[in-house]
Amino acid sequence: MEGQFTIQLETFDLTIGYEKLVVLSQLNLQLKKGELVCLMGQNGTGKSTLLRTISGVQKPISGEVKVGDDILNKMNVTDIAQKISLVLTEKPITGNLSVFEIISMGRYPYLGWNVKLASADKEIIERAVEQINLTDLLHKKLYTLSDGQLQKVMIARALVQEGEIMLLDEPTAHLDLNNRVEIMYLLRKLAKDMNKAILIATHELDLALQMADKLWLLDNNKRVLDSIPEDLVLNGSLDTVFGHKGYDLKTGRVAHEMSGEMIKLIGDGHGYLWTKNALERKGYNIGNKGTIEIKVQELKEKFSWTLKKNGNIKNVSTIENLLHSID
């Protein structure tokens, strides 16, 4: 694709913060077309300040932000609106607008005082609605939407604004797992298919690790580490920043205190994985040998377990019964 991975937004020695408080300093970051970047860091380290600064709401202390070929602070609000669109955590004050009305507001930077949509505008809206699968919701009022639906509507609105850059502040907060994954998939698809440069401030480490092309990791020394997620895992940066307790980042699992006996687990596939999961949660060590032996069998999508303990053999049909039997 032409123009893929060209730089859309770049910061030069950017120092941000408030009058007497430097929040982050000496940032030299690049946001490229077609890239999904997750902005991560502890609470209060400056994610919002950074988003505010690169969206032009707040002036930097020093250094500058370039959007395309323009310097952000010399652009007027309409020019910025045509380049950068936002999805924020704040909710609209009204519930009385329809989904269509909200989405069409994305065209405001291109419309005159009477906010009349031209047919070209309507086509753009239509495309976004189809892309994000909102056709059925189009004439629903805002107050009837679920949090996840509302978030999709706000993303559609941002998409209709047609900026090359999309900045999102915690788009998956307050959502359940299904919606979280769906939203992240959607954003990833927009980055790839529409060639957008997308920056997401988020706390969802697990999703970010799997979806982001890059992480901007705010360390606790007012710097931002800019790298691909895997490198940040392996070099321990993520551990340093978040100081995880009980979560093993390299395996992506919660760590358990292992104090129980050794268990020899035989089997494969999902049955093996989830049995292991349950046993580890109970504190057993799983290995190739042990005084207890468990065999996982799968027959026509039904699982059963054979437990050998002290010479006794027992067959069970659920993991719960299996755990009881071991005790």
Binding site: V77, E90, N96, V129, H139
Partner: protein
């Protein structure tokens, strides 16, 4: 679905009918009804004759053209102006309880009038001939609201968020209210009565000259709303979203304040404080039209505002009697139960807001 978007207008067929036909007809009918009611009964035939010719008996002609028409026109201007003000303030401050006077405009005006009327006993009693609606009172009220407004403007240029502006406006309201109390404390009964009568509101005291001035100011304030449709719609998503969609918040906030002060300021100056209309009408309109789009809300608020003001005025006339009740009391007396009924029916005002 293609059809849905391609033909999508901001007005549904039903709303188009209400806005384009039903409301204008209601306004015209109520205007005629309003003029026909009064302590002197004038037959409709004579009424129409005196509206379009001058061949009718002079006392009826005079009653209609000197008293009833000016009052009806004033009611129309007041209803339209205050409703639009209320709408602007509710959207700007994202607060369903906001009204035309949250910026301290009416408290400023009342302070001006209080200084004029009540300082009589301090400076010397020269103001006893003052009537509500006379130019001296109008100028005092205008100066009062203008001075409060200047301070609010200066604050609004300095501060970034509208919530602080709302609080500052309310603080000014309390301060001027306290000043007025102090003035009342040092005044004699006659002066206090004069001032009280001003606070009752009066839409029947204006002559054609004053109405012309008020008409021009209100027209100006209403016309400004044409350029405020887009920013106010965008503000429904919150200030940060509005800014991200290319709306200059600072500039538009000042335009909104100017428009509101032209409308609410001139109305308060000429007619005294008139409560409730500004706060209630936008809610009624949202319930009728089921939208928050200001392209619909602006014209609809103007129509509904006029209708309610004309009705309130007719009730205040106490048809069949010689008494006229204070209009400021009637607007609240009739309006409050109505809004409570709407809230009970809708259960949750936030949904329709």
């Amino acid at each position: 679905m293609q059809l849905q978007i391609k033909n999508g207008s901001h007005l549904t067929m039903k709303n188009r009918l209400i806005l384009g036909i039903l409301l204008p007809i209601a306004v015209i009918l109520l205007l005629i009804l309003n003029i026909s009611i009064g302590s002197v009964s004038i037959p409709y035939s004579a009424l129409f004759e005196s509206l379009f010719t001058d061949s009718i008996k002079t006392s009826w002609y005079n009653i209609i053209w000197q008293f009833r028409m000016p009052k009806a026109i004033t009611a129309t201007l007041v209803g339209a102006g205050l409703s639009v003000c209320g709408l602007q303030m509710q959207t700007l401050f994202r607060n369903p309880l906001a009204g035309p006077f949250v910026l301290g405009i009416s408290s400023g005006a009342s302070m001006g009038v209080a200084l004029l009327v009540l300082s009589g006993s301090i400076i010397g009693g020269f103001v006893h001939y003052l009537a509500v609606g006379s130019w001296v009172v109008v100028i005092a009220a205008s100066l009062g609201s203008f001075s409060v407004l200047m301070v609010v403007m200066m604050v609004s240029i300095r501060i970034k968020d509208s919530m602080s502006l709302l609080i500052v406006g309310l603080m000014f309201g309390s301060t001027t209210g306290a000043l007025v109390s102090v003035l009342q404390y040092f005044s004699n009964a006659q002066e206090i009565q004069l001032f009280m009568i001003w606070t009752f509101g009066n839409i029947g005291g204006l002559n054609w000259e004053e109405i012309t001035v008020m008409f021009i100011i209100i027209l100006l304030g209403l016309l400004m709303n044409i350029i405020l449709i887009k920013p106010l719609n965008a503000l429904l998503l919150g200030e940060n979203y509005a800014r991200s969609m290319g709306v200059n918040i600072q500039k538009n906030r000042i335009l909104i304040i100017i428009s509101t002060s032209l409308l609410a300021g001139s109305i308060t100056a000429f007619c005294g404080p008139i409560a409730f209309i500004g706060m209630a009408v936008p809610h009624i309109v949202r319930v009728i039209f089921k939208t928050s789009d200001h392209r619909v809300l602006f014209p609809a608020s103007i129509f509904v505002g006029i209708i309610i003001m004309l009705m309130c005025d007719m009730v205040a006339q106490l048809p069949g009697s010689e008494y006229t009740l204070p209009i400021n009391a009637i607007t609240s007396l009739l309006g409050a139960p109505f809004v409570i009924w709407i809230i009970l029916r809708k259960r949750n005002i936030a949904k329709s807001f």
